[in-house]
């Protein structure tokens, strides 16, 4: 907390900046940081941004069962969503299925692809988020494509990856080139550190900006109100992720 904020608060602030202006943000399971960022953006928007959080009772207004999230996304009613992966490669292909050996008898088996193979195609702003930045995760080529980062021309694809947030940096994704570009390094992180821990090649601008620290008014909001809201779904996260309110 040397910089006046926790590591989680920094990541929430980074994700929140990517969500500004969205009309409807949906957040999947096991995603406390994206969930907190979405709730923060809703608070800043005065309620204009809608937020649907899987697993939440208070922040889930769907009434048509498990299919509604996907139907809603297919119609363009969801502006932003989050995906991760056991492996992610430089073309933003994601693998949520397994690694080592041959499918389906992978040495390591992850839960499965969930809605990724659909939502990655239809949600305009998909933000990739991983709390582990290592060569184990960021590989040259994923061993199973749960959902591809880019598609052939002629494939219906209004959506796709826009950015990737890690504990070290923020990447932007260029859909035309099918490549990541380093957008900013988090405070105290070096380019070498990112290169050493990333298994794929990415573009680097001449001058790499430093990720802005969380804005004081947003930190206040996080610590005073968002902490309580996110505790409904992630009590353990809420207890440890935030500094005490001033």
């Amino acid at each position: 907390m040397s910089a006046g904020h926790t590591p989680q608060e920094l990541l929430i602030a980074v994700v929140a900046r990517l969500l500004e202006g969205c009309g409807h943000v949906a957040v999947g399971a096991s995603s406390p940081i994206p969930g907190a960022a979405a709730l923060l953006v809703r608070a800043l928007s005065g309620g204009a941004t809608r937020v649907s959080i899987l697993g939440s009772t208070r922040n889930n207004f769907f009434t048509n069962g498990g299919t509604e999230l996907f139907d809603c996304a297919a119609q363009g009613r969801i502006d932003a969503f989050f995906l991760g992966g056991g492996q992610i490669d430089g073309q933003a292909n994601i693998n949520l299925v397994g690694a080592g050996g041959e499918y389906p008898r992978h040495k390591v088996r992850w839960p499965g692809s969930f809605g990724s193979a659909f939502l990655y195609f239809v949600v305009p702003k998909v933000i990739l988020f991983r709390e582990e930045h290592t060569r184990r995760v960021f590989v040259p080529r994923v061993e199973f494509i749960s959902a591809p980062g880019v598609s052939e021309p002629g494939v219906y694809r209004p959506g796709g990856p826009q950015a990737m947030v890690t504990p070290l940096c923020l990447f932007a994704f260029d859909r035309d080139r099918g490549r990541f570009r380093l957008a900013s390094l988090h405070p105290g992180v070096t380019l070498e550190q990112v290169r050493d821990n990333t298994g794929f090649d990415f573009d680097v601008p001449d001058a790499v900006p430093t990720t802005a620290v969380p804005e004081p008014d947003r930190l206040d909001l996080l610590r005073n109100s968002i902490r309580g809201e996110i505790a409904e779904i992630y009590p353990r996260f809420a207890a440890g992720a935030f500094a005490d309110a001033a």
């Binding site: 069962g65 498990g66 088996r109």
Partner: protein, 276 residues
């Protein structure tokens, strides 16, 4: 009117034939765990388990007990408690067939079954290894598009059995599911629908428009058995939360075949469950 739809847990379990295609809901939507334990006691075999669209403890126990030949799912996981140990082990050892899917593909296939349609088109999936491994799915060119527009088709799912747990039924066999509408689609699509409920009430659910909107009519329901706490150790929306301590214990025990056998003896086949 007395109704033969209302039955008991063992009779319900007896209605799932070996080798049946059984569709089950995700962990948050009312999983018939008491009925699953009854199924395991009767030694069911060769199931084709379809998770609509994900599963956890239920799939893991059925797989661990050797009751499953094939799993079709968008994910099998114990969520915050970790991976599904028996499922992962069976997959690695090649003891079960796996059909990986994505959530909306399963919903669409079930909706096709509900409508009596042969298949459903679905966006996305192109270029994925999910599609590459599904020899039962097809890609066609959208016949209504001006130019080329490839689209995936998934065949209808008409399960032999839909199995789930709900809060409430009435004596006629109507079942209240509130906003958990995936349960309604499951009942519409399946040839037989087996439901456990917390409670059976005397008042007809269809008489009150406030409950009628969230009710599966008895037309679609083959059998209902009362099972209080029937989703335990999983949660039932609006009624009780999951039993975290028990699930942690399960995941720890299920890491080995011996541990899983001990769990089964204590909680499924042994004395502890005899009262069910």
């Amino acid at each position: 009117m007395g109704n033969s739809t209302i039955t008991d847990l063992d009779d319900l379990a007896a209605r799932v034939p070996d080798g049946a295609q059984v569709v089950v809901p995700p962990d948050y939507s009312g999983v018939a765990m008491a009925a699953t334990r009854a199924l395991l006691r009767r030694g069911v075999r060769g199931l084709h388990l379809v998770a609509m669209p994900t599963s956890g403890l239920q799939a893991d126990m059925l797989v661990g007990a050797g009751a499953v030949a094939m799993v079709e799912a968008a994910s099998i996981t114990m969520g915050e408690f970790g991976g599904a140990p028996c499922f992962v082990r069976a997959l690695r050892e090649g003891r079960i067939a796996m059909r990986d899917a994505t959530c909306p593909a399963l919903h669409s296939a079930l909706q096709a079954g509900q409508k009596g349609a042969p298949f459903m088109p679905i966006r996305g999936l192109l270029g994925s290894d999910i599609l590459a491994h599904r020899d039962d799915w097809r890609v066609i060119d959208n016949p209504f598009a001006d130019g080329s527009d490839p689209v995936v088709l998934v065949p209808a799912i008409r399960p032999d059995v839909a199995l789930f747990h709900a809060p409430l039924a009435d004596r006629e066999g109507n079942v209240w599911i509130g906003v958990r509408r995936e349960l309604l689609v499951m009942a519409h699509a399946a040839h037989a629908t087996l439901v456990t409920v917390e409670r059976v009430q005397d008042e007809n659910l269809l008489d009150d428009p406030r409950t009628a909107a969230g009710t599966i009519p008895a037309l679609y329901v083959s059998a209902v058995a009362e099972a209080a706490q029937g989703a335990w150790p999983l949660q039932l929306w609006g009624h009780y939360g999951l039993d975290g301590e028990h699930l942690r214990t399960y995941v720890a025990q299920a890491r080995s075949d011996e541990g899983f056998a001990a769990y089964m003896a204590e909680h499924v086949t042994g004395k502890a469950e005899a009262a069910e």
